[in-house]
Assembly symmetry: C2
């Protein structure tokens, strides 16, 4: 299947029509060798540069949230001032570098997924995520 058809499928299965703007979003998010992290603002800026015309923030928010809902993207909360999204939707964990605000993926080879010995009764576990905050040695924690 061509890349473009993949994108159209992703959009359709997320309940969205394939439009020029949305296909551009797909291209930026999914036409890559490696997964990556982004904020809505980053993404909107990149798209605007690629298209050489502005894309509305609302469109980016709507599309990203539809993908998140469908499971094509994960949202990660590190601090309250903004949301990060991750194109890596497999079970994995993160380092967060407090010096640079950089978010670094790491899989279970580096951080084992912890065992949950007892769960809240009547509830299903949706995700188990480990966040390791690091900073240079001579600094205090943010």
């Amino acid at each position: 299947m061509s890349k473009k058809n993949e994108f159209i499928d992703k959009l359709r299965s997320s309940g969205l029509r394939p439009t020029k703007q949305r296909l551009k979003i797909c291209e930026l998010l999914f036409d890559r060798d490696n997964t990556f992290h982004f904020t809505i603002n980053d993404l909107a800026k990149n798209i605007s540069e690629m298209l050489n015309e502005k894309i509305s923030l609302a469109t980016v928010y709507n599309t990203v949230h539809a993908f998140k809902y469908k499971g094509y993207l994960k949202e990660i909360s590190i601090n309250s001032d903004k949301s990060y999204f991750d194109t890596n939707t497999t079970n994995h964990h993160h380092f967060f570098d407090e010096d640079t605000n950089e978010l670094i993926d790491c899989d279970e080879k580096i951080i084992e997924t912890p065992k949950i010995k007892r769960n809240i009764s009547g509830k299903k576990i949706n995700s188990v995520e480990v966040l390791v905050k690091v900073a240079t040695d001579n600094q205090n924690q943010k």
Copy 2:
């Protein structure tokens, strides 16, 4: 030492003068049998009710952040729309109930702190936190 003197100490060691407003914040946060979670807004509302007069949000923000910086409070990010703070500053983890938006403490007896097999070079680990998101069985993940 009296409770009040404890509070004064906490404030002074955080670089803050003990004032009426700040002592009230201390009373609400630290004069309890059990730890708890709160948002800035909750806290400001509670203080206003207790004092029977309004406290400025700026004061609450400043004081809470000073306590956080000093390590008397922990900040927890679950979702991007607001910050939760935790008066439990020991190493522990959380369940987050996506049905009710409730945050539930749990210690290492329930969730083991995972081992970090390899760290980012030149960096110090400031914290290792596990967040388990749960919801009722018949619902999808938020």
